[in-house]
Assembly symmetry: C2
Homo-oligomer: 198 residues x 2
Protein backbone atom coordinates (compact mmCIF):
# COMPACT_ATOMS: atom_id res chain seq x y z
CA UNK A 1 0.00 0.00 0.00
CA UNK A 2 1.02 3.59 -0.57
CA UNK A 3 0.06 6.36 1.85
CA UNK A 4 0.13 9.99 0.80
CA UNK A 5 0.78 11.66 4.11
CA UNK A 6 2.22 14.57 6.05
CA UNK A 7 4.19 14.37 9.27
CA UNK A 8 2.35 17.28 10.97
CA UNK A 9 -1.14 16.10 10.05
CA UNK A 10 -3.21 14.54 12.81
CA UNK A 11 -5.46 13.01 10.17
CA UNK A 12 -2.48 11.19 8.65
CA UNK A 13 -1.22 10.21 12.10
CA UNK A 14 -4.51 8.41 12.78
CA UNK A 15 -3.87 6.15 9.78
CA UNK A 16 -0.19 5.62 10.62
CA UNK A 17 -1.15 4.71 14.20
CA UNK A 18 -3.73 2.12 13.15
CA UNK A 19 -1.42 0.67 10.48
CA UNK A 20 1.24 0.21 13.17
CA UNK A 21 -1.17 -1.37 15.64
CA UNK A 22 -2.40 -3.74 12.94
CA UNK A 23 1.17 -4.62 11.98
CA UNK A 24 0.63 -3.40 8.41
CA UNK A 25 3.18 -1.68 6.23
CA UNK A 26 2.60 1.15 3.77
CA UNK A 27 5.10 3.05 1.70
CA UNK A 28 4.83 6.74 2.51
CA UNK A 29 4.88 9.71 0.20
CA UNK A 30 5.17 13.00 2.09
CA UNK A 31 3.16 15.97 0.79
CA UNK A 32 3.45 19.57 1.95
CA UNK A 33 0.42 20.90 3.85
CA UNK A 34 1.30 24.58 3.45
CA UNK A 35 2.31 24.65 -0.24
CA UNK A 36 -0.41 22.62 -1.90
CA UNK A 37 0.37 23.60 -5.48
CA UNK A 38 1.29 20.04 -6.50
CA UNK A 39 -1.94 18.52 -5.18
CA UNK A 40 -3.95 18.47 -8.44
CA UNK A 41 -1.09 16.75 -10.20
CA UNK A 42 -0.37 14.24 -7.42
CA UNK A 43 -3.84 13.54 -6.00
CA UNK A 44 -6.16 14.70 -8.79
CA UNK A 45 -7.04 11.18 -9.90
CA UNK A 46 -7.10 9.74 -6.39
CA UNK A 47 -8.99 12.08 -4.06
CA UNK A 48 -11.69 14.63 -5.00
CA UNK A 49 -10.73 16.70 -1.95
CA UNK A 50 -7.00 16.66 -2.86
CA UNK A 51 -6.10 16.01 0.78
CA UNK A 52 -3.88 13.76 2.82
CA UNK A 53 -4.20 11.08 3.96
CA UNK A 54 -4.98 9.18 0.78
CA UNK A 55 -4.32 5.46 0.81
CA UNK A 56 -3.66 3.56 -2.41
CA UNK A 57 -4.22 -0.19 -2.12
CA UNK A 58 -1.92 -2.71 -3.78
CA UNK A 59 -4.43 -3.16 -6.61
CA UNK A 60 -4.34 0.59 -7.33
CA UNK A 61 -7.68 1.57 -5.83
CA UNK A 62 -7.48 4.82 -3.85
CA UNK A 63 -9.26 5.54 -0.59
CA UNK A 64 -9.32 9.11 0.78
CA UNK A 65 -10.63 10.48 4.11
CA UNK A 66 -9.02 9.36 7.35
CA UNK A 67 -12.32 8.11 8.78
CA UNK A 68 -13.03 5.93 5.75
CA UNK A 69 -9.48 4.57 5.78
CA UNK A 70 -9.67 3.74 9.49
CA UNK A 71 -12.98 1.95 8.94
CA UNK A 72 -11.65 -0.04 5.99
CA UNK A 73 -8.49 -1.13 7.74
CA UNK A 74 -10.14 -1.90 11.08
CA UNK A 75 -13.08 -3.96 9.76
CA UNK A 76 -12.85 -7.47 11.17
CA UNK A 77 -10.24 -6.53 13.78
CA UNK A 78 -10.45 -5.73 17.48
CA UNK A 79 -10.33 -2.01 16.67
CA UNK A 80 -13.87 -1.89 15.25
CA UNK A 81 -16.82 -3.06 17.38
CA UNK A 82 -19.04 -5.83 16.00
CA UNK A 83 -22.27 -4.65 17.61
CA UNK A 84 -24.30 -2.60 15.13
CA UNK A 85 -25.18 0.15 17.59
CA UNK A 86 -21.58 0.45 18.79
CA UNK A 87 -20.41 0.64 15.18
CA UNK A 88 -22.82 3.52 14.63
CA UNK A 89 -21.56 5.16 17.82
CA UNK A 90 -18.00 4.92 16.52
CA UNK A 91 -19.11 6.71 13.36
CA UNK A 92 -20.99 9.26 15.46
CA UNK A 93 -17.79 10.25 17.23
CA UNK A 94 -15.78 10.19 14.00
CA UNK A 95 -18.28 12.53 12.30
CA UNK A 96 -18.30 14.71 15.43
CA UNK A 97 -14.51 14.91 15.22
CA UNK A 98 -14.47 15.96 11.57
CA UNK A 99 -17.27 18.52 12.04
CA UNK A 100 -16.78 19.97 15.52
CA UNK A 101 -13.20 19.27 16.58
CA UNK A 102 -10.93 19.11 13.54
CA UNK A 103 -12.08 22.28 11.73
CA UNK A 104 -11.42 24.22 14.93
CA UNK A 105 -8.56 22.65 16.87
CA UNK A 106 -6.61 21.34 13.88
CA UNK A 107 -7.03 24.55 11.90
CA UNK A 108 -5.91 26.83 14.76
CA UNK A 109 -2.94 24.50 15.38
CA UNK A 110 -2.13 24.64 11.64
CA UNK A 111 -2.12 28.45 11.82
CA UNK A 112 0.07 28.43 14.95
CA UNK A 113 2.63 25.97 13.56
CA UNK A 114 2.77 27.83 10.24
CA UNK A 115 2.93 31.33 11.71
CA UNK A 116 -0.28 32.20 9.83
CA UNK A 117 -2.17 35.26 11.05
CA UNK A 118 -5.83 34.50 10.46
CA UNK A 119 -8.72 36.93 10.75
CA UNK A 120 -9.03 37.59 14.53
CA UNK A 121 -12.82 37.17 14.55
CA UNK A 122 -12.60 33.84 12.74
CA UNK A 123 -9.80 32.73 15.05
CA UNK A 124 -11.85 33.58 18.15
CA UNK A 125 -14.84 31.69 16.77
CA UNK A 126 -12.68 28.62 16.14
CA UNK A 127 -11.06 28.78 19.57
CA UNK A 128 -14.49 28.93 21.21
CA UNK A 129 -15.85 26.10 19.05
CA UNK A 130 -12.76 24.01 19.77
CA UNK A 131 -13.33 24.42 23.48
CA UNK A 132 -16.96 23.38 23.08
CA UNK A 133 -15.73 20.17 21.41
CA UNK A 134 -13.31 19.57 24.29
CA UNK A 135 -16.13 20.27 26.77
CA UNK A 136 -18.22 17.57 25.08
CA UNK A 137 -15.32 15.10 25.37
CA UNK A 138 -14.78 16.02 29.03
CA UNK A 139 -18.43 15.27 29.80
CA UNK A 140 -18.18 11.92 28.03
CA UNK A 141 -14.97 10.86 29.72
CA UNK A 142 -16.36 11.85 33.09
CA UNK A 143 -18.44 8.67 32.81
CA UNK A 144 -16.56 6.48 30.31
CA UNK A 145 -13.06 5.04 29.87
CA UNK A 146 -13.19 5.09 26.05
CA UNK A 147 -15.51 6.53 23.42
CA UNK A 148 -17.45 3.39 22.53
CA UNK A 149 -18.23 0.17 24.36
CA UNK A 150 -15.71 0.86 27.12
CA UNK A 151 -12.84 -0.35 24.98
CA UNK A 152 -10.25 1.15 22.64
CA UNK A 153 -11.41 1.47 19.04
CA UNK A 154 -10.87 3.53 15.88
CA UNK A 155 -13.16 6.14 17.44
CA UNK A 156 -10.46 6.74 20.07
CA UNK A 157 -7.78 6.87 17.38
CA UNK A 158 -9.84 9.40 15.39
CA UNK A 159 -10.40 11.69 18.38
CA UNK A 160 -6.89 11.26 19.80
CA UNK A 161 -5.31 12.52 16.56
CA UNK A 162 -5.87 16.21 17.17
CA UNK A 163 -6.95 16.24 20.83
CA UNK A 164 -3.52 15.21 22.09
CA UNK A 165 -1.83 18.02 20.13
CA UNK A 166 -4.49 20.62 20.98
CA UNK A 167 -1.98 22.50 23.20
CA UNK A 168 0.09 23.16 20.05
CA UNK A 169 -2.88 25.26 18.92
CA UNK A 170 -3.06 27.03 22.27
CA UNK A 171 -5.86 24.82 23.63
CA UNK A 172 -4.66 24.16 27.16
CA UNK A 173 -5.92 20.89 28.59
CA UNK A 174 -5.55 21.87 32.26
CA UNK A 175 -9.30 22.24 32.63
CA UNK A 176 -9.97 18.84 31.07
CA UNK A 177 -8.79 16.20 33.58
CA UNK A 178 -11.01 13.43 32.21
CA UNK A 179 -9.76 14.08 28.68
CA UNK A 180 -6.16 13.97 29.94
CA UNK A 181 -6.79 10.61 31.65
CA UNK A 182 -8.21 9.23 28.39
CA UNK A 183 -5.19 10.52 26.43
CA UNK A 184 -2.99 8.57 28.86
CA UNK A 185 -5.07 5.42 28.37
CA UNK A 186 -4.85 5.72 24.58
CA UNK A 187 -1.09 6.30 24.68
CA UNK A 188 -0.73 3.15 26.82
CA UNK A 189 -2.34 0.87 24.20
CA UNK A 190 -0.14 -1.89 22.75
CA UNK A 191 1.68 -0.74 19.62
CA UNK A 192 1.04 2.95 20.23
CA UNK A 193 3.31 5.37 18.38
CA UNK A 194 3.70 9.12 18.84
CA UNK A 195 2.81 11.55 16.06
CA UNK A 196 6.53 12.35 15.83
CA UNK A 197 7.50 8.67 15.44
CA UNK A 198 8.46 7.63 11.95
Amino acid sequence: MLLYTNALSGNCYKVRLLLTQLGLQAERRELDVYDRSDRPEVLGELNPALRVPTLVLDDGRALPESGAILWYLAEGTEYLPTDSFERAQALQWMFFEQYDLEPNIAVVRFWELGGIHADPELRTAKVQAGHRALDALERHFGAHEFLVGERYSIADIALFGYTHVAPEGGFGLEGYPAVRSWLTRVAAQPGHIAITDC
Copy 2:
Protein backbone atom coordinates in the same frame (compact mmCIF):
# COMPACT_ATOMS: atom_id res chain seq x y z
CA MET B 1 -38.38 5.79 17.41
CA LEU B 2 -38.23 9.49 18.11
CA LEU B 3 -36.44 11.90 15.75
CA TYR B 4 -35.40 15.35 16.91
CA THR B 5 -35.50 17.23 13.65
CA ASN B 6 -35.97 20.50 11.79
CA ALA B 7 -37.88 21.01 8.57
CA LEU B 8 -35.23 23.24 6.94
CA SER B 9 -32.27 21.02 7.82
CA GLY B 10 -30.79 18.98 5.01
CA ASN B 11 -29.12 16.75 7.59
CA CYS B 12 -32.52 15.90 9.08
CA TYR B 13 -34.02 15.45 5.61
CA LYS B 14 -31.43 12.75 4.86
CA VAL B 15 -32.74 10.71 7.80
CA ARG B 16 -36.39 11.36 6.95
CA LEU B 17 -35.76 10.30 3.35
CA LEU B 18 -34.10 7.01 4.33
CA LEU B 19 -36.75 6.26 6.96
CA THR B 20 -39.42 6.72 4.28
CA GLN B 21 -37.59 4.56 1.75
CA LEU B 22 -37.16 1.86 4.39
CA GLY B 23 -40.84 2.08 5.34
CA LEU B 24 -39.94 2.97 8.92
CA GLN B 25 -41.87 5.33 11.17
CA ALA B 26 -40.46 7.78 13.70
CA GLU B 27 -42.27 10.29 15.82
CA ARG B 28 -40.88 13.74 15.12
CA ARG B 29 -40.02 16.53 17.51
CA GLU B 30 -39.30 19.79 15.72
CA LEU B 31 -36.47 21.96 17.09
CA ASP B 32 -35.63 25.51 16.03
CA VAL B 33 -32.33 25.91 14.16
CA TYR B 34 -32.02 29.67 14.67
CA ASP B 35 -32.99 29.95 18.36
CA ARG B 36 -31.02 27.11 19.96
CA SER B 37 -31.50 28.21 23.56
CA ASP B 38 -33.48 25.08 24.48
CA ARG B 39 -30.87 22.68 23.11
CA PRO B 40 -28.98 21.92 26.34
CA GLU B 41 -32.25 21.10 28.09
CA VAL B 42 -33.70 19.01 25.25
CA LEU B 43 -30.58 17.31 23.79
CA GLY B 44 -28.04 17.63 26.62
CA GLU B 45 -28.27 13.97 27.61
CA LEU B 46 -28.62 12.68 24.05
CA ASN B 47 -26.09 14.41 21.79
CA PRO B 48 -22.77 15.98 22.77
CA ALA B 49 -23.02 18.34 19.78
CA LEU B 50 -26.60 19.40 20.72
CA ARG B 51 -27.63 19.16 17.08
CA VAL B 52 -30.44 17.76 14.98
CA PRO B 53 -30.94 15.14 13.75
CA THR B 54 -30.79 13.02 16.88
CA LEU B 55 -32.56 9.67 16.75
CA VAL B 56 -33.78 7.98 19.92
CA LEU B 57 -34.41 4.26 19.52
CA ASP B 58 -37.38 2.53 21.13
CA ASP B 59 -35.13 1.25 23.92
CA GLY B 60 -34.08 4.82 24.75
CA ARG B 61 -30.58 4.76 23.25
CA ALA B 62 -29.77 7.97 21.39
CA LEU B 63 -27.84 8.20 18.13
CA PRO B 64 -26.68 11.63 16.86
CA GLU B 65 -25.01 12.62 13.56
CA SER B 66 -26.87 12.13 10.29
CA GLY B 67 -24.10 9.96 8.82
CA ALA B 68 -24.11 7.57 11.79
CA ILE B 69 -27.91 7.38 11.73
CA LEU B 70 -27.96 6.63 7.99
CA TRP B 71 -25.37 3.90 8.48
CA TYR B 72 -27.24 2.32 11.39
CA LEU B 73 -30.60 2.31 9.61
CA ALA B 74 -29.24 1.16 6.25
CA GLU B 75 -27.11 -1.74 7.50
CA GLY B 76 -28.38 -4.97 6.00
CA THR B 77 -30.55 -3.20 3.42
CA GLU B 78 -30.10 -2.39 -0.27
CA TYR B 79 -29.08 1.16 0.66
CA LEU B 80 -25.68 0.13 2.07
CA PRO B 81 -23.21 -1.80 -0.09
CA THR B 82 -21.96 -5.15 1.20
CA ASP B 83 -18.49 -4.99 -0.39
CA SER B 84 -15.95 -3.73 2.13
CA PHE B 85 -14.25 -1.30 -0.24
CA GLU B 86 -17.59 0.11 -1.43
CA ARG B 87 -18.65 0.55 2.19
CA ALA B 88 -15.48 2.54 2.81
CA GLN B 89 -16.16 4.58 -0.34
CA ALA B 90 -19.65 5.39 0.97
CA LEU B 91 -18.04 6.66 4.17
CA GLN B 92 -15.44 8.59 2.13
CA TRP B 93 -18.20 10.57 0.41
CA MET B 94 -20.13 11.03 3.64
CA PHE B 95 -17.05 12.44 5.39
CA PHE B 96 -16.35 14.60 2.32
CA GLU B 97 -19.89 15.95 2.56
CA GLN B 98 -19.62 16.84 6.24
CA TYR B 99 -16.19 18.44 5.84
CA ASP B 100 -16.18 20.06 2.38
CA LEU B 101 -19.79 20.53 1.32
CA GLU B 102 -22.03 20.98 4.36
CA PRO B 103 -19.96 23.60 6.26
CA ASN B 104 -19.97 25.72 3.11
CA ILE B 105 -23.17 25.17 1.13
CA ALA B 106 -25.44 24.44 4.10
CA VAL B 107 -24.08 27.31 6.17
CA VAL B 108 -24.42 29.92 3.38
CA ARG B 109 -27.97 28.62 2.72
CA PHE B 110 -28.71 28.89 6.45
CA TRP B 111 -27.55 32.52 6.40
CA GLU B 112 -29.62 33.26 3.27
CA LEU B 113 -32.81 31.66 4.61
CA GLY B 114 -32.40 33.37 7.98
CA GLY B 115 -31.46 36.80 6.61
CA ILE B 116 -28.15 36.60 8.49
CA HIS B 117 -25.42 38.99 7.35
CA ALA B 118 -22.17 37.11 7.92
CA ASP B 119 -18.67 38.55 7.66
CA PRO B 120 -18.13 39.17 3.90
CA GLU B 121 -14.66 37.61 3.86
CA LEU B 122 -15.92 34.46 5.58
CA ARG B 123 -18.92 34.32 3.25
CA THR B 124 -16.69 34.61 0.18
CA ALA B 125 -14.42 31.83 1.47
CA LYS B 126 -17.43 29.56 2.04
CA VAL B 127 -18.91 30.30 -1.39
CA GLN B 128 -15.60 29.43 -3.04
CA ALA B 129 -15.16 26.27 -0.97
CA GLY B 130 -18.76 25.25 -1.72
CA HIS B 131 -18.07 25.56 -5.44
CA ARG B 132 -14.93 23.46 -5.07
CA ALA B 133 -17.09 20.73 -3.48
CA LEU B 134 -19.57 20.98 -6.38
CA ASP B 135 -16.67 20.85 -8.85
CA ALA B 136 -15.52 17.58 -7.25
CA LEU B 137 -19.02 16.13 -7.59
CA GLU B 138 -19.25 17.29 -11.21
CA ARG B 139 -16.00 15.48 -12.02
CA HIS B 140 -17.27 12.30 -10.35
CA PHE B 141 -20.66 12.32 -12.05
CA GLY B 142 -19.02 12.94 -15.40
CA ALA B 143 -18.01 9.27 -15.20
CA HIS B 144 -20.47 7.70 -12.74
CA GLU B 145 -24.24 7.39 -12.34
CA PHE B 146 -24.12 7.29 -8.54
CA LEU B 147 -21.49 7.88 -5.88
CA VAL B 148 -20.59 4.27 -5.08
CA GLY B 149 -20.83 1.02 -7.01
CA GLU B 150 -23.03 2.53 -9.75
CA ARG B 151 -26.12 2.19 -7.61
CA TYR B 152 -28.14 4.35 -5.23
CA SER B 153 -26.96 4.20 -1.61
CA ILE B 154 -26.85 6.25 1.59
CA ALA B 155 -23.87 8.08 0.10
CA ASP B 156 -26.24 9.55 -2.50
CA ILE B 157 -28.76 10.42 0.20
CA ALA B 158 -26.03 12.12 2.27
CA LEU B 159 -24.78 14.21 -0.66
CA PHE B 160 -28.25 14.93 -2.09
CA GLY B 161 -29.39 16.51 1.19
CA TYR B 162 -27.71 19.88 0.67
CA THR B 163 -26.66 19.67 -2.99
CA HIS B 164 -30.24 19.79 -4.26
CA VAL B 165 -30.99 22.92 -2.20
CA ALA B 166 -27.66 24.60 -2.99
CA PRO B 167 -29.47 27.22 -5.15
CA GLU B 168 -31.25 28.39 -1.97
CA GLY B 169 -27.78 29.44 -0.80
CA GLY B 170 -27.04 31.17 -4.09
CA PHE B 171 -25.05 28.26 -5.54
CA GLY B 172 -26.41 28.09 -9.08
CA LEU B 173 -26.18 24.62 -10.60
CA GLU B 174 -26.23 25.78 -14.25
CA GLY B 175 -22.52 24.98 -14.61
CA TYR B 176 -22.95 21.50 -13.16
CA PRO B 177 -24.87 19.42 -15.73
CA ALA B 178 -23.63 16.06 -14.46
CA VAL B 179 -24.62 16.98 -10.90
CA ARG B 180 -28.08 18.00 -12.14
CA SER B 181 -28.51 14.65 -13.94
CA TRP B 182 -27.57 12.84 -10.75
CA LEU B 183 -30.06 14.92 -8.73
CA THR B 184 -32.76 13.81 -11.19
CA ARG B 185 -31.74 10.16 -10.81
CA VAL B 186 -31.88 10.40 -7.01
CA ALA B 187 -35.28 12.11 -7.08
CA ALA B 188 -36.59 9.28 -9.30
CA GLN B 189 -35.75 6.56 -6.76
CA PRO B 190 -38.70 4.58 -5.37
CA GLY B 191 -40.07 6.13 -2.19
CA HIS B 192 -38.35 9.47 -2.72
CA ILE B 193 -39.77 12.40 -0.78
CA ALA B 194 -38.99 16.10 -1.13
CA ILE B 195 -37.41 18.08 1.70
CA THR B 196 -40.71 19.96 1.99
CA ASP B 197 -42.77 16.75 2.27
CA CYS B 198 -44.01 15.95 5.75
